[in-house]
């Protein structure tokens, strides 16, 4: 009977330097999978490698042997003595391996709980394994279940609901002020990764014109071109305030770039339309006093971090629900797996045949009232003998040990052919 073994390491067990050493590119992954295919002890294999984790999933007859082989292979392939990484490795078997896989794909085990990329990465890894034909009945089933569980966790819990990046948190706040960003004009002061990311989020949300102000006008022009916006001079910021709705600021200026007086002066000209300042700079660019003016909202980097901390707390709460879904799914998988064993399959097959025979005999005998008891018994005996003869060869095949590699495959097909899983 094939069993599932998983060995791997992740951001919790291994420092980034080690993870770098053991990461596999898609090309390398193919090589590894092909090499595993050659090894008789590993019947099925899938390798997942991301920047935060390496997971090797195997289906094998001999767990200890498979683990040893995989370790040795890792060490040879990456030219790293096993002692270097052995301490960081975790090894899960059976249900634990299944649970680990479900948790990883549902992003319950991620560095940022609820981040959505991991599922895509696992799908890629599985696709590669199916292309190389290293995934068989057991791992196929496991991965299909995994995708299903991950989707369920995402849909039924709020694990992905709360913004956990600065730029995204800012956008979510803006949504609470403006509702939608259509036709909302954006002013970007300065430059910087987070600020630019926020502008990109806004553009994706159909924001209106983008203005870019930079101390060096040329840089502003370059950035404006990227956002298909308009560059303005740094001195023009105050003049542009009446026509923008969202101001994202990220400069190295030691003083406030936008002052309370400037904003106070334009509130009336804006006809009180709300204006939202996102201040990502340290030291701050936007006078925090502006937040006290009517219809003006200021969030600085600490405020946004506060929002994110709240989100992470919320996600952790949601993760508990996710764990419950995972636990349920592990039990479901265990049932499927147990049924793959030879004896239950043969028993189920027999029961099904006996059931059909019994029903048919009853039907037939009901219309043949003239038969004696002996005749009836003879018919019953005949059907039993037929069932025995029919099932003889299939049972022998399933019980034989000559089909190691594919036993679970035969069992699976048998269960499907006769619909034994209902």
């Amino acid at each position: 009977m094939l069993e599932i073994v998983l060995l791997g390491l992740n951001h919790k067990t291994a420092p980034v330097a080690l993870r770098e050493c053991l990461a596999f590119s898609p090309g390398e992954t193919s090589v590894v999978l092909r090499a595993f295919q050659e090894l008789p002890v590993i019947s099925e294999a899938v390798l997942v490698s991301t920047c935060n984790r390496v997971e090797i999933l195997m289906a094998t007859e001999d767990k200890a042997h498979a683990v040893r082989t995989a370790k040795r292979f890792l060490s040879e392939f990456k030219k790293l003595p096993a002692s270097e990484f052995e301490k960081s490795l975790y090894i899960y078997k059976g249900d634990d391996a299944v649970r680990h896989m479900f948790r990883v794909a549902s992003s319950l085990d991620s560095m940022v709980v609820g981040e959505p990329q991991i599922l895509g990465q696992i799908k890629e890894a599985y696709k590669l394994a199916t292309l190389k034909k290293t995934s068989g009945v057991i791992l196929n089933k496991l991965f299909h279940r995994t995708f299903f569980v991950a989707k369920r966790v995402r849909n039924e819990t709020g694990i992905g609901d709360h913004a956990v990046s600065i730029s995204y948190a800012a956008i979510e706040l803006g949504r609470k002020i403006f509702g939608a960003f259509e036709e909302k004009k954006v002013l970007l002061i300065g430059a910087g990764e987070m600020a630019e990311l926020a502008v990109e989020h806004l553009i994706r949300n159909k924001a209106g014109d983008i203005l870019v102000a930079n101390r060096t006008f040329e840089n502003g022009v370059k950035l404006a071109k990227r956002f298909k916006g308009e560059a303005i001079r740094f001195e023009e910021i105050a003049d542009s305030l009446p026509r923008v709705d969202i101001v994202i600021s990220s400069t190295g200026s030691p003083d406030y770039v936008v002052t309370r007086e400037q904003v106070k002066a334009i509130i009336r000209r804006r006809r009180n339309r709300p204006i939202f300042f996102i201040d990502i700079a340290v030291p701050r660019d936007i006078d925090p006093e502006i937040n006290r003016l009517t219809n003006s909202y200021v969030y600085d980097i600490d405020d946004l971090k506060g929002v994110i901390d709240e989100s992470i707390e919320n996600r952790k709460k949601e993760a508990i629900k996710g764990e419950r879904i995972v636990d349920e799914a592990v039990i479901g998988f265990r049932q499927w797996y147990d049924n793959l064993d030879v004896v239950p399959t043969i028993v189920a097959l027999r029961n099904k045949m006996d059931g059909i025979a019994k029903a048919e005999i009853k039907k037939t005998l009901n219309s043949l009232k003239h038969l004696s008891d002996d005749d009836r018994q003879a018919i019953t005996r005949m059907t039993s003998a037929m069932i025995n003869k029919i099932l003889h060869d299939p049972t022998l095949l399933l019980k034989s040990n000559g089909y190691h590699q594919n036993k679970s495959g035969y069992l699976d097909i048998t269960r499907k052919l006769f619909k034994l899983d209902e």
Binding site: R271, R292, N295, Y297, D303
Partner: protein, 261 residues
């Protein structure tokens, strides 16, 4: 009918799970109420606004109706937590009051009076909702400004949606109030021969009208929106409440009959 109203409030307070149910219940309650009022109309032969019980009952009915209309137009589900308890409260008060009708007054039998009452009530119901929206606006604004995102932040809609809804409520309310005043004038002319008789109710209605007119004017000219508009909507509704109850109880006038106990 009253028990439905009670349920509605209960359900709406936990609206995150039960908003849908609450909405259907308030719709059902509204329909029952409509039938009940129609029955009263047929039985007494005139619009049932003889005493405070009936007047309040009509007020509850119109608020529910206007709420359903706005819900349909803006999908602002959260408003239910304001509207449903308000309707319930009004209905509960109404049920505590004696419901025996006073002798029917012949002057109450006029199409202009019916129009006057209906439009005024619809206007006031809209203003009630505007007040509710204004209140929600202030709560949401406070959560955003104080950067302390608690219970309400997730549940309340965006400021802009609240603001536009409040504005729409006030425009609708103002239109209805204007129509109500005009029909009132016409009716007064037909009964007493004059449009305006300096009745305290009339004076206070005039004040209310001017207040909302000012609010709308400011919004259109200098763009009074957001916080200030929300506060004004709340003040406006307070004045309406005074016009509705205060004037009848504290001052004398020919509108007194509607709130007779």
């Amino acid at each position: 009918m009253l028990s439905t109203a009670g349920y509605i409030a209960y359900l709406f307070l936990q609206k995150n799970y039960l908003q849908q149910t609450g909405f259907y219940l308030i719709s059902a309650g509204f329909l029952c109420h409509t039938a009940w009022i129609g029955y009263g109309f047929v039985q007494s032969g005139h619009f049932p606004v003889d005493n405070l019980h009936q007047t309040l009952s009509i007020a509850g009915w119109t608020i529910a109706g206007v709420f359903l209309l706005f819900h349909y137009g803006f999908h602002l589900k959260i408003l239910g937590i304001f509207a449903a308890p308000l309707v319930t409260l009004i209905m509960v008060i109404a049920s505590r009051l004696p419901s025996a009708p006073h002798k029917a007054d012949s002057i109450l039998n006029s199409i202009w009076l019916v129009a006057h009452v209906i439009t005024i009530f619809m206007g006031e119901a809209s203003f009630a909702l505007a007040c509710g929206v204004g209140f929600l606006y202030l709560v949401q604004e406070h959560t955003i400004k104080s950067k302390n995102h608690g219970f309400f932040f997730k549940r309340l809609p965006s400021l802009e949606l609240l603001d536009t809804t409040g504005y729409a409520c006030i425009v609708a309310g103002f239109t209805m109030l204007t129509l109500g005043l005009v029909t009132g004038f016409i009716y007064a002319k037909s009964v007493w021969g004059r449009f305006w008789s300096w009745d305290p109710k009339e004076v206070w209605s005039g004040i209310t009208w001017l207040l909302y007119a000012a609010l709308l004017h400011q919004r259109l000219t200098v763009g009074w929106r957001g916080r200030r508009a929300a506060i004004m909507a709340i003040i406006g509704f307070a004045v309406i409440l005074f016009t509705f109850f205060g004037v009848n109880f504290l001052l004398q006038g020919h509108h007194g009959g509607f709130t007779k106990l």
